[in-house]
Amino acid sequence: MFELNDPLIPVIGEVTDIRIDTPDIKTFRVVTPDGKKAFAHRPGQCAMLSMPGVGEAMFSITSSPTNTEYMEFSIKKCGCVTEWLHSMEVGQQITIRGPYGKPFPVDDEFVGKNLLFIAGGVGLAPLRSVINYCRHYRDRYGKIDIVYGSRSKDDLLDYNEIISEWANDAGVNVHLTIDREQEGWDGHVGFVPNYVKELGFDTDKIAVLCGPPIMIKFTLNGLYELGFDKTQIYTTLELRMKCGIGKCGRCNVGSKYVCKDGPVFRFDQLDELPDEY
């Protein structure tokens, strides 16, 4: 019966590239030891990465599903697993299992719509996968706006890709902001929620939010002020997970498991859940 692979048993992944994005965020490129992508995924889905002896943790896959060669993970150093991952060198093997969770509805609700992506800090990581997917299938979607903010210029994730690729795409508008004035920065300065309000978007679009809870809270209010409805706003949640398959019992919000029923939720769906995330 053990031809049946257990969902808890991972496969080996090899880190083939490590990019230092910001002082505390690195992006890791992972393939199987024979150089292939470990498994296919959809935008917004996650994977469990682990170093045996250190621990296992859930990370969103930042590379686009359209990339069939490898997966990328942008990881912020904040706990023991991430600290270990940050200490890795190229060629290190880790374990990987997934994909987990429901993806963003890029092939149904999003189709034909204008899209507004709003991210703060490392919150861009899960959105990068969706953004690049939508850029890849550019003609399926309407106008794309990206609002992205961070503490400083150095803390902006994927800065080079944003500047050299996203900003040059037709029909893609990138709005960057940093929290405080900084030498060498001539872009916008201010917090993301205020910037969103200043930019004053039309409500003819779907908004996707990801960032620290406080940013989500205020941006959400801003979007409501602009006339957005809860059914137009998506976000992705993060809770402690161990199994990734809705069995270990810790990532539930009400009767929904973030690992299985999420991490992508629409705000009207979240409203039906108890306030415990």
Binding site: N5, P52, I94, E238
Partner: protein
Amino acid sequence: MRKISLDRINDLFAAIAAEFRLYLPVDTNGGARYEEWAEGKILSDELNTVRSAKDFFFPQTENLMDFKTEGKKIEIVDTRSETEDFVIFGVKACDVRSFDVLDRVFLAEPQDSFYKNRREHSLILSMACAKPHETCFCTTFGIDPSAPMGDIVCYKTEDALYMDAKTEKGAALLKKIESITVEDNGEAAEKQKKVIRERLEKLPLHNLTADRFGGDKTAEFFKAPEWKELSASCLGCGTCTFVCPTCQCYDIKDFNTGHGIKRFRCWDSCMYSEFTKMSAGQPRLTQLERFRQRFMHKLVYFPANNDGMFACVGCGRCLSKCPIQMNIVKVMKTLGKGEEKNV
């Protein structure tokens, strides 16, 4: 239905043990517990074991896999092996139902192969509860302690054990022990059933109902003010979750043996403060939230995801084991009673 007199029950155990590993409740100075049968082990007369029978399928700790690391390389060692068939004797109706609850979790896609392996190789000989305790409330969840499920249902009277096969697996086992048992018309078992049903009427919790709970009650109960008082003296220990036959939360951890890594799974408890703690924050900050999670899960969230099935079987273990005597019955009776509910 087959019958064997109690003075020959050892022969029955020996006959079963000749074919399978046989586990049955025996007495220890810490109450009854399941042990593997061997000559000299005596079936406990206790109503139920202190720990539930979930251990057989979801043990407190189990090795998931091993890792060998060398330099930057990792090797995953699959340590699984197929379990031999085994028999659990004397499982009570509540615990038999708990397997259904656990199945809903572990056998839902993607299936847990560790659980499935043991589940498929088990044979369950259930036992009717001749004398239920005051803490029993399995009838609240539609369980009939006089007619438990399982591969074979057993009735133990003063002088004999009666066995009735309910599945093909059970019938095959009865066939194997045919030579030491005799055919019975089932009258004695019927008589015991009747006595049990009369006794159920006398139980203090006989009229407890779970009707007010169910999958659609999140909004009604989540913000109930009663949680505060109910959880006020909770110690945050894991006793209730560990003796519970349906609690299945687990943790996955690595152990460095000095010559490799063992990844193991162990029971975890939603009552523990670090259960949901992340480096980024903690969604359940106080014991109130953890306490609420446990009971909401059993009475609301689980039914929401499992066609209305409650994740409680009324075995009463938490009623007798909680250090501060707070339990699901008190929660069910208190919730929604207060006038200012849903504030």
